[in-house]
Amino acid sequence: MEFLVIGIIIAAIAIIGATALFYRARGSRRPVAPPPAAPPVPAKAEDSPAGTGETAVAERAPPAAAAPAPEAPAAEVELEVPEPTAGRLVRLRSRLSRSQGTLGQGLLKLLSRDKLDEATWEEIEDTLIAADLGVGPAGELVERLRTHTRVQGARTVDEARALLREELVALIDPTLDRTLKVAKHPAADGAPERPAVAMVVGVNGTGKTTTTGKLARVLIADGYTVVLGAADTFRAAAADQLQTWGQRVGAYTVRGAEGADPASVAFEAVKEGTGMGVDTVLIDTAGRLHTKAGLMDELGKVKRVAEKQGTVDEVLLVLDATTGQNGLVQARVFAEVVDITGIVLTKLDGTAKGGIVVAVQKELGVPVKLVGLGEGPDDLAPFDPEAFVDALLQ
C-alpha cells in the first residue's frame, strides 16, 4: 500500500511538472515577471540622521490608551542610554580582529613569502574558502591577486598588505549605499507625515529579534524615536524577548497574541507608530526557512499589509556569519519574496568569517548594512568596508 501512495505522489508531481513546463514552453503569452528592477534610488536619501528636526525623546512613555495588548508598566524599568553609533566599529574592531585577524594575517604571511609558487596560491585559495567565500569567488580573487603580483611584483609585507587591502575592499564594494532609510517621511501632497518602516527577516536562529532590539537601541542613540512590532507570533516567547529589549530603552512594543496573524501585528505597529508620530517602526518577523512556501507567502503578506499605510523602507535580511553556501540560496529566496534592501551579518564575534555575504552582495547587489559583534546590547555597528578590511589585516 505504501508504495502505491508513493507512486501516486510521484505521478501527480510528474503530471503537474510536465503540464507546468508545457505552459512555460508556450510561455510568450504570459509575460514573465521582470527581474526586480534595480532598487530605486531614493530621491531624498538621508544624509544625516540629525536632519529630521526631531529631538531625541527616548524616554517617551507608551500611551496607555492605545495599547492593544497589556504591557508591563514600563515606567518602573530604568531606561538605559545606549551609546551613539559613531565609532562603534572602531570600538568593536578588537573583537572583530580577535576572530578575523587570523584570516588577514594568514593571507599576509602567505603573500609575503619569497617565492609565490603554485602550492602557496593554493593555500591562499584554501584560506579564502575556509572563510566561506565559496569556491568560485575565492578562485577569482586568487586569480586577480596573481595577476597583480606578477605585474607589480609586490614582495614586501607592506606591498602585499596594500595589494590585499585593495582587493578585499574591491570585493566588498565600498560604493554601495549602506545608509539605513529610517527617517520619518515628511508630510507631502496632502498626506500626513508617517514613520519609516523597517522589517527584519531571516531564517530561524540567525538573531533577528536580538538584531531588532539592538537596532532600536542604535536608532534611539542616534536620536530617533522607535516603535517595535513583534510580528513573530510563532516562536514561544519571542514577543516577550523583543519587549524586554524595547523596555530597556523605552521603545513601545506592539504585540499580538501568540499565534495571531503576524500581518495584523505589523499593520497595528505601523498604525501605532503613525499615531505616536515616531520616526521609525521596526518590525521583527518570525524566523522561517526559505524552503517553506507557506511561511514565505506569509512573509510576503506581512510586507504587503504593512505597506497599506505607506512604504516599507528597509527590509533587512539577517544572516548568521556561520552560515555556509546556503546563505546565497536564502538571500535569493528572501529577495524574491520581500525584496530585501540590506543585510545584517550577525555573530561575527565568533570564529566564523561570514564570507558568504560577498557572494550575496555580488549576486543580488544588496549591501551589508550592519554587523553584529557580540551579545552586548550595543554590539551592533554600521558596516564600514574600509574599517572592516583594516580590522581584518590588523
Binding site: 501516486i8 505521478a11 513546463l21 536562529g205 512556501a293 546563505g327 565568533g350 570564529t351 551579545e375
Partner: protein, 515 residues
C-alpha cells in the same frame, strides 16, 4: 552556479565515454569536481582533504580501472565513503543505570537548542520516559519563558527556578535540577544551556562547570545544518571546552546540503545521533547516514520526498485512492484533491527537484512557479462534475468553454487531459502491481531516466515545440514502459537501471519496498 555534483560529473564523464578506462588525468579532474562539490556543500576543507585522498586511493586501484563503467564506479566509491564516515557506529542514547539520566545540550547561539530540548522531551515522553526540562539558559532575554512554553506544548514539566534575563547562576540551577528530578521521580533530565561561542573562554568555562555539576550521561552538541566552514572550528572548540558524545543536526528541513555533518564527524569522531527538521515538536528523527550522503552529494532526495508525502497524505485517503485506481475510477477530482495535498509539501520546483533524473532540466524547472499549479486547478475547476468524472466526454466545444472559463487556451486544456490520461493508465498499472516508468517530463526522460530515452524525449520535445503543439508523450512513454517491462523481468525495478551516466544511489534501487 550551484550545479549539483551529478550534473558536474555528468559533464566531466561525457568526455570519458567510450574510453572504458580512466587515465590519471581523468581521475584528477574527477576528483577536483568532487572536491568542489563537497566544498559547496559546506564540507570543511579539513574534512575534504582526507576524504579526497581516500577516494583517490580507491579510484586508482584495480576496482575502478577494471570496472565496466569507471565513472559510475567512482560515484559509487564516493557514496560508500560518505556513508561509511557518516554512519560508522550508530548508537542510541545511553540511559543511566541509576536514574535520572542527564542529557546536556550545548551549541552556538541560534543552533536550535531550546526547540530541540522540547523535541527531545516529547520524543522521550512518547518512548515512555518521564523527562524534565531544565532552564539553564539565563542569558538570552526570555529564553526561560520560551522553554516553559515549549515544555507546555510537549507536556513536560520545566524546572526553572530563576527568571533568566541575565539573573541567576546556571550552574546552580543545573545542580538543583538533579535533586528536583530525584524528588519528583523524573528519569531523564534535559539541561538546556545558553548558546555560546567556541572562543568565549568564560562561557566555555561555565559550560564545563555545568557539566561537572550534573555529570551528564550524554552531552549533545547541537549544530545547524546550514553552518559553513566554521563547523570544524566550532566543533573542535566545544570538544575541547565541554566535550560531547553525540551530535544533533538541526534545521534539516531547509535546503542546506549539510556538509557540516561530515566535517564534525571527521574532525571529532563523534556520531550524528539525531536529525531535527522542522518547528513542530514531533519533527525529530534518528539520523540516516544514507540520506545524508545523497543529500550532501545532491543526488535528489527521494526518501525525504516520500517521507514528507507520507506525513501529508492521509492513510485512509490513500487507500481509498488506491481502490479507485485498481478499479480504474481515478477522476480529475481525485487528481485535484491530490494536488491540494501536494501543495502542503512545499514549492513545486522543490518537489520536482527531489525526483532523481531531472537534473538535465534544472533550468526549466526554475521557471515553474506555483502559480502554474493554480492554473491546472483552474482548468479542472472549470469543468463540470460530469466532465471531471469522465474526461472522454470533453469535445471541442467543451474544451473551448473550459479554456475560456479558466483563462487558459485550448492547447493547455488538451495537454492537461492528455497527461492525465497517461498518468491514469500508468497508475492503474501500478495498482495492479509493478512499477512502470513515469510519463515523460518533457526533456527529462522521467524517472527511469536513461540517457537514450532522455535524448529522444528532448528531441521529441524540441520538435513539438517548434510546431507549437502539444507533444505526445509517446516516445518517452514507450521507452519507459519498455524499461519497466525489462525491469520487471529481471526483478530489478527501473530505478536501479543502468544506462544513465552515473549510478543512482542505492536508495533508489531499494525504492520498491519489500512486499
Amino acid at each position: 552556479m550551484f550545479d549539483t555534483l551529478s550534473d558536474r560529473l555528468a559533464t566531466t564523464f561525457k568526455n570519458l565515454r567510450g574510453k572504458g578506462r580512466l587515465s590519471p588525468q581523468d581521475i584528477d579532474e574527477t576528483l577536483r569536481e568532487i572536491r568542489r562539490a563537497l566544498l559547496e556543500a559546506d564540507v570543511s576543507l579539513e574534512a575534504v582533504r582526507p576524504f579526497i585522498a581516500a577516494v583517490r586511493t580507491r579510484a586508482e586501484s584495480a576496482e575502478v580501472s577494471k570496472a565496466l563503467n569507471p565513472a559510475q564506479q567512482i560515484i559509487k566509491i564516493v557514496n560508500e565513503e560518505l556513508v561509511g564516515i557518516l554512519g560508522g557506529e550508530t548508537r542510541r542514547l545511553r540511559f543511566a543505570k541509576n536514574p535520572p539520566t542527564v542529557i546536556l545540550l550545548a551549541g552556538l547561539q541560534g543552533a536550535g537548542k531550546t526547540t530541540l530540548a522540547g523535541k527531545l522531551a516529547y520524543w522521550l515522553r512518547s518512548e515512555g520516559h518521564t523527562p524534565v526540562l531544565v532552564a539553564a539558559d539565563l542569558q538570552r532575554p526570555n529564553a526561560v519563558t520560551q522553554l516553559q512554553v515549549v515544555g507546555d506544548r510537549a507536556g513536560v514539566p520545566v524546572f526553572a527556578p530563576e527568571p533568566g534575563n541575565g539573573v541567576g547562576n546556571p550552574v546552580k540551577v543545573a545542580q538543583d535540577s538533579i535533586e528536583f528530578a530525584k524528588a519528583k521521580m523524573h528519569d531523564v533530565v534535559i539541561v538546556d544551556t545558553a548558546g555560546r561561542l567556541g572562543i568565549d573562554a568564560e562561557l566555555m568555562r561555565q559550560a564545563a562547570d555545568i557539566r561537572d555539576a550534573v555529570r551528564p550521561d550524554e552531552v549533545l552538541f547541537v549544530v545547524d545544518a546550514m553552518i559553513g566552514q566554521d563547523a570544524v572550528t566550532t566543533a573542535q572548540a566545544f570538544m575541547d571546552g565541554v566535550g560531547f558524545d553525540g551530535v544533533v543536526l538541526t534545521k534539516l528541513d531547509g535546503d542546506a546540503r549539510g556538509g557540516a555533518a561530515l566535517s564534525v564527524r571527521q574532525v571529532t569522531g563523534k556520531p550524528v545521533m539525531f536529525a531535527s527538521s522542522g518547528e513542530k515538536l514531533e519533527e525529530f528523527d534518528v539520523f540516516h547516514p544514507e540520506r545524508m550522503a545523497s543529500r550532501i552529494l545532491d543526488m535528489g532526495d527521494m526518501m525525504t520526498l516520500i517521507e514528507q508525502a507520507e506525513k501529508a497524505f492521509d492513510q485512509a485517503e490513500a487507500e481509498k485512492m488506491a481502490g479507485k485506481l485498481a478499479r480504474n475510477e481515478f477522476t480529475l477530482d481525485d487528481f485535484l484533491n491530490q494536488m491540494e495535498q501536494l501543495k502542503k509539501l512545499g514549492s513545486m520546483t522543490k518537489l520536482l527537484g527531489m525526483l532523481p533524473g531531472v537534473s538535465g532540466i534544472k533550468d526549466q524547472l526554475k521557471e515553474i512557479d506555483d502559480k502554474d499549479v493554480n492554473r491546472i486547478a483552474a482548468i479542472i475547476k472549470s469543468m463540470t462534475p460530469g466532465e471531471r468524472e469522465d474526461v472522454k466526454i470533453i469535445n471541442g466545444s467543451r474544451r473551448q468553454r473550459i479554456a475560456r472559463g479558466s483563462g487558459t487556451s485550448v492547447p493547455e486544456v488538451n495537454n492537461l487531459i492528455e497527461r492525465f490520461l497517461e498518468a491514469k493508465k500508468m497508475m492503474s498499472q501500478m495498482a495492479k502491481g509493478g512499477m512502470p516508468g513515469m510519463p515523460g517530463l518533457p526533456g527529462a526522460g522521467g524517472l527511469g531516466g536513461t540517457k537514450r530515452k532522455s535524448a529522444k524525449a528532448k528531441a521529441a520535445d524540441k520538435a513539438s515545440k517548434s510546431k507549437g503543439r502539444s507533444r505526445s508523450g509517446n516516445p518517452a512513454k514507450a521507452k519507459a514502459e519498455e524499461a519497466a517491462r525489462q525491469a520487471r523481468k529481471d526483478g530489478n525495478g527501473p530505478f536501479g537501471e543502468d544506462g544513465g551516466q552515473f549510478e543512482l544511489p542505492d536508495e533508489f534501487k531499494n525504492l520498491l519496498p519489500p512486499q
